[in-house]
């Protein structure tokens, strides 16, 4: 069946090349039927890629080790869930997944928006197809998942650190984020190419951008949870280049989601928005390049291959293309609208954008500096957590404060008097929180104290916004408080969904600050019966145990835990030894105290022949808030993405107006 897979990829590639060339010609010459044909080719490419993906999944399920890719990434004893997830555990399969998601999302975006952006669409199709052509070319020519060999009796198995439930969900969600960012890029560039620089491309891509941003954010958090539970060093984010690779487009997309509102409300920042869209897309390509090229030494470097040069070339082409198109269309993008006041909502968005982009570019510099250093000086340099943490503080704290101030400032301009009146209540909450935390001893870290004070300000501002809005809706005639609240959210889902997302970021900040600045840790060599103390916890080592799993052995140190003298049960930390892969992986013990919001995190670092063990123990305060922040973030996005009947009516009305104007 490898032949069918190769054939399907070839068909997909040919369809995409046709869609790019014929679609481009149709757009330039205004040929409707040729455009329809190109659009069909894009949709057909999705079908062909789906066939190829099904062939590969079928090979995994039937353990067909005549496929080199299947033999390299699975084995007969690998559980079915991981066997299915093995599709994206290697480079060739994950690029096939990229292509599948791209053609699916691209086709859906084109078909769903064919009325709204009819004049832009002829350019959107060839752009999406051109990007797709590259991603079809790679599995076709450079790194094929359909290469065959005489079938060995068993496969090499899956990388042991990938054998984790998060493997089933993190990569696909990450890819939905990365690939989804292609849609706003393609529509923005198509708008520029067709000379339609009005807000239609923004309206058409708003939900796609928001959904991609949500997927990317969730993927970062899922990756952090995976690292926390699986890698086992006590933390959840190590500023690894590949982790940063997902963070950078997320930061740029966050800036875009804010600045695009300024364009919608005030018709400002047109140039800035298309630049941000291009930057976000290039960073998402760069992220895929970092993950899959193996160019950077990272825990994520599962693949070392020759696709790096192709990818780098493609990123350069995309960046150059976007730059030229933006420069050529600069006169169309210029608007006469100017910022009315430095104390206004749009100004707050501008400050937030500058901070987000500055942080994004700083992270980018941290990622590429070792590469440049190696290329120029011949010796690799390391950019470690202190570099990133310094800039996280420098840009993150003002961002946290701005996140609180921004919603309280009116559009256009706000007098100092009304601004002071608006921020008085959150500022009061903030100062009270700061004083209480100081009294409780949180002053041991001034940085943490500042972060918590700002977080309190931001949460106070969010509560105030919901409270004042609900009160106003009630005054406008809502029958009760719940009705007033739901009417408030229903009238502006994006705004109030955004506030929920802000609350998620505040929870994230509280969790990150708590676990990184107020944690305690200890390490000790323990013989059976001995006890160690970390913070309020005492751990008594009961002895080692060995259990045989489906495809691995589980070696554990059994530890009886007491907290403030109260018995809390037994935890087991240790290692898994995977039979086929001949690989040891940490299996940490995590005991979560939801009431205190803290984790007891235990690593069984080394097991000795005499039954003793080297233990590392961390007490991570408030770390649970980081995962709760993920759920709140998802809730905020769902609120913002929920279909808005009023908005749909407005769009339908606008489409009718456009039809009338054309007729």
């Amino acid at each position: 069946m490898a032949l069918l897979g190769r054939g399907a990829i070839l068909v997909a590639f040919e369809l995409l090349v046709y869609a790019a060339l014929a679609g481009g010609y149709a757009a330039a010459r205004g040929r409707r039927r040729l455009h329809d044909s190109a659009r069909n080719a894009l949709v057909g490419a999705f079908g062909a890629t789906l066939v190829a993906a099904c062939v590969l999944v079928g090979a995994f399920v039937t353990r067909d080790f005549s496929f080199v890719y299947v033999a390299e990434h699975s084995s007969r004893v690998l559980p079915l869930g991981y066997t299915l997830a093995a599709l994206w555990s290697g480079q060739a399969g994950s690029l096939l997944l990229w292509l599948l998601v791209l053609t699916a999302i691209g086709s859906a975006a084109v078909l769903l928006n064919r009325r709204l952006v009819r004049d832009t669409l002829p350019w959107t199709v060839p752009l999406l197809a051109a990007i797709g052509s590259f991603f079809a070319f790679i599995p076709l020519v450079v790194s094929s998942p359909f290469a065959t060999q005489p079938a060995p009796p068993d496969g090499a198995g899956m990388n042991a650190s990938l054998q984790n439930p998060y493997m089933l969900i993190h990569p696909p969600v990450l890819y939905l984020g990365y690939v989804g960012l292609t849609v706003p890029f393609a529509f923005a560039m198509a708008g520029l190419l067709s000379g339609r620089v009005d807000e239609r491309w923004i309206v058409a891509t708003r939900r796609w951008t928001l959904a991609s941003w949500t997927f990317l954010g969730l993927a970062i958090l899922l990756g952090a949870k995976w690292a926390y539970e699986s890698i086992g060093w006590g933390g959840y984010y190590a500023w690894d280049p590949v982790e940063n690779a997902a963070l950078m487009p997320w930061l740029a997309a966050t800036a875009f989601l804010h600045s695009v509102m300024v364009q919608e409300k005030k018709d400002m920042l047109r140039v800035w928005n298309v630049v941000l869209v291009a930057l976000t897309f290039c960073l998402s390509l760069f992220g895929t390049f970092l993950t899959r090229s193996g160019v950077i030494n990272s825990i994520h470097s599962f693949a070392q291959s020759s696709i790096g040069a192709w990818f780098l070339g493609f990123i350069v082409v995309v960046a150059a293309f976007a730059t030229v198109v933006i420069l050529v269309r600069l006169p169309l993008l210029r608007t006469r609208v100017r910022l009315e006041s430095l104390a206004s909502r749009e100004a707050a968005f501008l400050y937030n954008n500058l901070l987000l982009v500055a942080f994004c570019l700083t992270v980018l510099w941290g990622v590429v500096f070792p590469l440049l250093s190696e290329a120029v000086r011949g010796e690799p340099a390391t950019v470690g957590p202190p570099f990133y943490n310094f800039f996280l503080r420098t840009f993150g704290l003002p961002l946290l404060l701005l996140m609180g101030i921004g919603p309280l400032v009116a559009w256009r301009r706000a007098s100092l008097r009304s601004l002071a009146r608006s921020i008085a209540w959150p500022a009061g909450v903030s100062f009270a929180t700061g004083a209480a935390l100081l009294a409780l001893g949180a002053g041991s870290s001034p940085l943490g104290l500042a972060a918590y004070t700002f977080s309190a300000f931001c949460l106070g501002a969010i509560v105030l916004e919901f409270g004042r809005g609900t009160y106003a809706r009630k005054a406008l005639g809502a029958p009760g408080w719940p009705a007033a609240f739901s009417s408030l959210v229903a009238h502006n889902r994006r705004r109030y969904g955004g506030y929920v997302s802000h609350a998620a970021v505040v929870l994230l900040a509280i969790g990150v600050v708590g676990s990184s600045l107020y944690g305690t840790s200890g390490s000790r060599h323990l013989a059976p019966g001995e006890t160690m103390q970390v913070g309020r916890y005492a751990l008594r080592y009961l002895g080692p145990t060995l259990r045989r799993g489906a495809n691995h052995d589980e070696l554990r140190a059994q530890l009886a835990v007491t907290g403030d003298g109260e018995p809390l049960g037994v935890v087991a930390a240790g290692k898994n030894r995977y039979h086929v892969e001949a690989f040891f992986a940490n299996a940490v013990a995590i005991r979560t105290d939801w009431l205190r919001g803290e984790d007891l995190f235990v690593i069984g670092d080394q097991f000795n022949r005499d039954g003793s063990v080297e233990l590392k123990v961390f007490v991570n305060p408030l770390v649970g808030l980081i995962w709760i922040a993920g759920a709140v973030f998802l809730l905020g996005s769902v609120v913002a993405l929920w279909p808005d009947a009023r908005e749909q009516r407005r769009r339908a009305h606008r489409a009718l107006e456009l039809e009338a104007a054309r007729a």
């Binding site: 069946m1 490898a2 032949l3 069918l4 054939g7 399907a8 068909v11 040919e14 369809l15 046709y18 149709a26 205004g30 040929r31 409707r32 039927r33 040729l34 455009h35 329809d36 044909s37 069909n40 080719a41 949709v43 057909g44 079908g47 062909a48 066939v51 004049d119 002829p122 339609r196 009005d198 807000e199 919608e264 409300k265 005030k266 018709d267 309280l408 400032v409 009116a410 559009w411 256009r412 301009r413 706000a414 007098s415 008097r417 009304s418 608006s422 004042r468 809005g469 009160y471 106003a472 005054a475 406008l476 407005r650 606008r654 107006e657 456009l658 039809e659 104007a661 054309r662 007729a663």
Partner: protein, 123 residues
């Protein structure tokens, strides 16, 4: 096995060709993509401006009601916004009237295009 795979690839390729050729096999409509003229573009710009001004007015009213904007600021901001909205609506009305008076002259071409678009299932 390879023969079966070959047949499937051939079927897939045939389906792809059919899908791509489908617009050319359907009843011919018009070979030229209808484009927005300057007038339509200007009308769209005005419609966007109108929506923006009306949304800003609604937002201003709500911000005033919630106490985010004091009375002085509200009075200062509401006037220009109302004028902008009214001016945009007037311009849109003018264009609609202008379009209505011109329509009889352009009706044959416009109607033909509309019929063509309707046939192609685009309207």
């Amino acid at each position: 096995m390879d023969a079966a795979a070959l047949v499937l690839v051939a079927l897939l390729a045939a389906a792809a060709v059919l899908l791509v050729a489908r617009p050319f096999l359907c009843e011919p409509v018009t070979g030229v993509q209808p484009r927005e003229d300057e007038q339509a573009r200007e009308r769209l710009r005005l419609a966007e401006q109108r929506d923006r001004a009306l949304a800003a007015l609604k937002e201003l009213e709500f911000d005033h009601r919630t106490g985010k904007i004091c009375d002085g600021d509200y009075r200062e901001l509401v006037g220009p916004l109302r004028r902008e909205a009214a001016e945009t609506l007037r311009l849109l009305d003018d264009r609609a009237r202008l379009g209505a008076t011109r329509r009889p002259r352009t009706r044959p071409a416009g109607a033909a295009r509309a019929r063509a678009l309707a046939r192609s299932g685009l309207r």
